[in-house]
């Protein structure tokens, strides 16, 4: 083998750098699981908790299409109650703290939905009123 020293040194450096994220974490505790704070005022959401946890983004997309394109603004929830399809005025009426609810999981998963570029958080609504 020609240049064995250089090649092996190079390979070792490569493997060390490539696996850096793995052994960098050794001995450190995993980040705490997110704990979204549920609203105290309401016991049920528009759909089951399991469905909301996995598919709330799809539900919000469906709501947006229904409101803007079909003029349908009333949603009949799992409990048979009628809800107005509005993020700021309806969802956030119960989930009235974005930091303690939305941000918990979104920060944990490092996702940054752009809802709040246009829609108002409960804090912004309170400030404007």
């Amino acid at each position: 083998m020609y240049n064995a020293g250089k090649i092996i040194t190079g390979l070792v450096i490569f493997v060390v750098i490539f696996t850096l994220p793995l052994w960098w974490q050794v001995g450190k505790a995993a980040p705490p699981a997110p704990k979204p704070e549920l609203p105290k005022t309401a016991k049920v959401c528009v759909e089951d908790t399991a469905y909301m946890r996995t598919s709330h983004m799809q539900l919000l997309n469906d709501w947006r299409n229904a409101v803007v394109r079909d003029q349908d603004r009333v949603y009949v929830g799992k409990d048979g109650k009628k809800y107005s399809m509005s993020l700021t005025n309806d969802c956030m009426a119960c989930h009235n703290d974005k930091k303690k609810f939305c941000d918990q999981c979104h920060n944990y998963l490092a996702v940054a939905p752009y809802c709040w570029d246009c829609h108002l958080t409960p804090e912004q609504v309170k400030e404007s009123k």
């Binding site: 603004r73 009333v74 108002l120 404007s128």
Partner: protein, 263 residues
């Protein structure tokens, strides 16, 4: 292969049984999916199949009259006041000769020529902005004739601004929230827009849905603005248009505006 009567009836019966079981089977495989039947129109919404507006220019004495209505609209929709070329406007007064460029008549009475003309999105029957939109962010709602935008889909290409012959559209060159004092929004019940999207008048679709007239119509004094369903012969717009001669902006382009002007 020939199918005899017995086999045909067997296949038909089996297909019918499968068809009946289809919905139940679907519910079994995909439980808890959102059903379109769960969504409906709010009962208090105003009913109309072609919303239209009549602007009575005789009732506008000065530009201040028109500016008052602009103020109401922009407050209701959180439209920022930005000086210069980046301004955003949904409804605004303009000069008569700028609004009605197709009138080549040089002998128009001076009092009409000096009247400020309140202009807004014409909610055309044949909207050029809808034809050019590459993402279908701008579309014509077939149910009520409003040319409306889905801001989530707008990519800010501004084809619609180039296509609109009335200049009814504005682009957000910057985050509009920067232009409100201390981040206070005039109407916290309505969202803002974001940097990089186009916006325009939406005929107050959000107000019609709760049974209210558009903000400008509600604020207009003694019939400056009349709003109603153009497809309903008993509506006030139809009555007004039946008894008054009206003009529209740039009719030769064939866009068929839904905003009519009485001069």
């Amino acid at each position: 292969m020939a199918v005899n009567r017995r086999e045909f009836i067997k296949i038909a019966g089996l297909s019918a049984a499968l068809g009946l079981g289809g919905k139940a089977a679907f519910d079994l495989v995909l439980p808890g999916q959102v059903d379109a039947a769960q969504m409906s129109r709010p009962p208090q919404a105003l009913q109309g199949s072609h919303w239209a507006m009549v602007v009575d220019l005789k009732k506008f004495k000065s530009e201040a009259d028109a500016m008052a209505l602009q103020e109401i609209c922009h407050q209701a929709h959180n439209v920022p006041t930005i000086p210069g070329k980046q301004e955003i406007k949904w409804i605004w007064p303009t000069k008569f000769e700028h609004a009605f460029t197709h009138l080549e008549n040089r002998q128009i009475p001076p009092d009409i020529l000096e009247t400020p003309v309140l202009v807004l999105c014409n909610h055309c029957e044949n909207p050029p902005c809808v034809r050019v939109c590459p993402t279908k962010a701008t579309f014509k709602r077939e149910s009520d004739g409003i040319v409306i935008m889905d801001m989530h889909r707008c990519i800010g290409c501004r084809f619609c601004m180039a296509a609109c012959p009335y200049g009814a559209r504005s682009f957000n060159f910057a985050d509009p929230r920067n232009y409100f004092k201390d981040g206070k929004l005039p109407n916290p019940d309505y969202p803002t827009r974001t940097k990089g999207v186009v916006e325009k008048c939406n005929f107050c679709a959000e107000r019609l849905a709760v049974g209210k007239l558009p903000a400008c119509v509600e604020a207009a004094k003694d019939g400056q603005l009349i709003f109603g369903d153009l497809n309903d012969p008993r509506s006030e717009v139809r009555k007004t248009l039946r008894t008054n001669y009206s003009i529209r902006r740039k009719p030769d382009l064939g866009t068929q505006p839904s905003v009519y002007y009485l001069v």
